[in-house]
């Protein structure tokens, strides 16, 4: 594989919890992201899955430097973007763009589609000189499969799927290298989701884009991703290629998550082994010691409370040459074929 285009190292984001009106004193912190590392390679799609509150959207914001990281680094072409500001940050952001979840609130209702897609050019005029903007916007509309004649329409005149195409066109406007997609299809109807996913794959080939694809729908993530990272409570539980994660998961959380996905096949209903996790995700303001997942894990022992498992290839699988040989943050990582996961 090629050189990584984005390297994330020990990324941490804590949101302070304060008390008092005039003299605010910090009484704790929501540990939204707590030490995450991964690489993104050129032209690949890295899927990030996890349940609500696991910190996946915070990661997206940190990669864009929309949130200031508490500590850790994000290297883009050797430059740590968490330390950048002003002109240098603006230059980097040209190459890292974002597509948001909700196409209903992420487009300004009082701007025409032409203005929305053309707005990035106001901020980066070097990409499109003033005279050529209209033509550029029309070209972008065409690229995402919308009629270029719609340039003067307003967002409310479009359906959800069409709006998401507008959001994608805006993301493409500056010819970025990386697009961070935060739940780009979860607000759309099933029949429209497939259209948008196809469009995103087509654009990736056409423009050699790298995607960070954040979603909670495991089957869509599997379809689009080359590699998948599973997050739980601010940490990466397991990361590997799509086949490694979906067919040979070694982390108990991944196994439980995959087994809980409803399989669209009524025949599988009877002979499917499901792991039903007890309880809810603990609060990120007061996460469990050691392994974050231990409070819901059926394998948990004393060691899990004392020692934080590192994200690494488990020793028992090192050099095994099997698909189980991928990074997993569990003391007791082992393969267990969850029945039914093949269809996820």
């Amino acid at each position: 594989m090629s050189e990584p285009i984005l390297q994330v190292r020990n990324l941490v984001k804590h949101f302070p919890l304060t008390q008092g009106v005039l003299f605010k004193k910090q009484i704790g912190a929501v540990k939204a992201v707590d030490g995450i590392s991964f690489d993104l390679y050129r032209g690949e799609t890295l899927g990030i899955v996890g349940e609500s509150g696991c910190g996946k959207s915070t990661v997206a914001k940190l990669l864009m430097n929309l949130e200031q990281a508490t500590s850790g680094e994000v290297f883009y072409k050797g430059q740590d973007i968490t330390k950048l500001s002003g002109r240098a940050l603006k230059a980097v952001r040209r190459n890292i763009q974002m597509v948001f979840q909700d196409p209903y609130t992420s487009l300004n209702p009082r701007m025409t589609v032409g203005d929305i897609i053309g707005e990035p050019f106001d901020i980066h005029p070097e990409v499109a000189p003033k005279g050529s903007r209209r033509a550029k916007v029309e070209e972008l509309l065409d690229v995402v499969g919308l009629n270029p004649e719609y340039i003067n329409r307003y967002p409310h005149q479009f359906s959800g799927g069409q709006r998401q195409r507008i959001g994608i066109a805006r993301g493409l406007a500056l010819n970025p290298e990386i697009i961070i997609c935060d739940e780009p299809v979860s607000a759309l109807d099933v029949s429209v989701q497939a259209q948008v996913v196809n469009l995103m794959e087509k654009l990736q080939d056409e423009f050699d884009l790298s995607y960070v694809f954040i979603a909670h729908d495991l089957s869509i993530v599997r379809h689009i991703s080359d590699r998948v990272g599973v997050m739980y409570l601010g940490r990466m539980a397991e990361i590997g290629t799509d086949a490694e994660i979906y067919e040979h998961p070694t982390h108990p959380y991944t196994q439980a998550l995959l087994s809980a996905v409803p399989v669209p096949d009524p025949e599988a209903r009877e002979h499917r082994e499901r792991i039903i996790l007890a309880g809810d995700v603990p609060s990120p303001a007061n996460p469990p010691s050691g392994c974050r997942f231990r409070t819901r894990c059926w394998k948990a022992e004393d060691r899990c409370a004392e020692e934080t498992p590192l994200l690494a290839v488990p020793t028992r699988f090192q050099g095994a040459g099997t698909p189980a040989e991928h990074e997993s943050a569990c003391h007791f990582a082992e393969e267990k074929d969850p029945v039914g996961s093949h269809a996820a």
Partner: protein, 342 residues
Amino acid sequence: MTVIDQTAGAPAPGTTTAPLLEVRDLHVEFHTRDGVAKAVNGVNYSVNAGETLAVLGESGSGKSVTAQAIMGILDMPPGRIPRGEILFQGRDMLKMSAEERRKLRGRKIAMIFQDALSSLNPVLSVGYQLGEMFRAHQGLSRKAAKAKAIELMDRVRIPAAKERVNDYPHQFSGGMRQRIMIAMALALEPDLIIADEPTTALDVTVQAQVMDLLAELQQEFTMGLILITHDLGVVADVADKIAVMYAGRIVEDAPVHEIYKRPAHPYTKGLLQSIPRLDQKGQELYAIKGLPPNLLRIPSGCAFNPRCPMAQDICRTEVPVLHTVGDRRGSACHFWKETLGE
């Protein structure tokens, strides 16, 4: 269109009684500034006691409006029911007085909504809200109602129910709030529960817990369950039979096993094909072209014809009736034989 669904009246094997709930040729329309939106255009379905009917459809297909009509919680106006019957235990609810219907709601038919946080009152404790069911319907005292509320919370497995009965909705997690909604629906042991996207707002691991709980309680009380959803996975997991809705009509109904194996309507087929599958990795996903129709301007003939790969001239002019295509199966497609691959 007045087609009586031949499958609707057929009793489930092993029972001889009339269905618990039967919807016959139901029409619902909304009068808006831009015209009349025809949300439901002749829906027929039935549920027996202990049976789970999944109503599958995209947004705007009329699946929730049908449920609201059954519950009698449609906003009228702008809503209107120009035609149809909703038979509950043999009696047409649309002909009942408001008072009679109010007595059925909660006691005989209960509903679980999608968004538990906005369905619960944020300024009242959950114990009070659960107890309200008993105070209003059974005239219990506050103390007795609270004891009942604790019992219910135990039953839907909320840990430490006794300590948490005075907590407010925001103090519970999403999964717990949905359990409270289920508890509220179960309070008076109704015969029928309508669950409108009960797990859509929940994470998959929590979704699995909640669906399991719902299925278990349904068994215990042999309730009928109408599950409204767009998730083909959830349907395959729990449903006995499925009704697929499109533009306010049922386009296909069938027992659950058959529909996944051999869909008889191009829309159902398209939905099933657009689920990402393993062997399609790296290929383009199958996508139903176009968009769901505007309910103010439903296409003539078969509403699905502009998006249908099999559409012919007849589809643009003639509304297909729900053909019987097998044992307790129906498909509203002129070309159901071709779709089935016969």
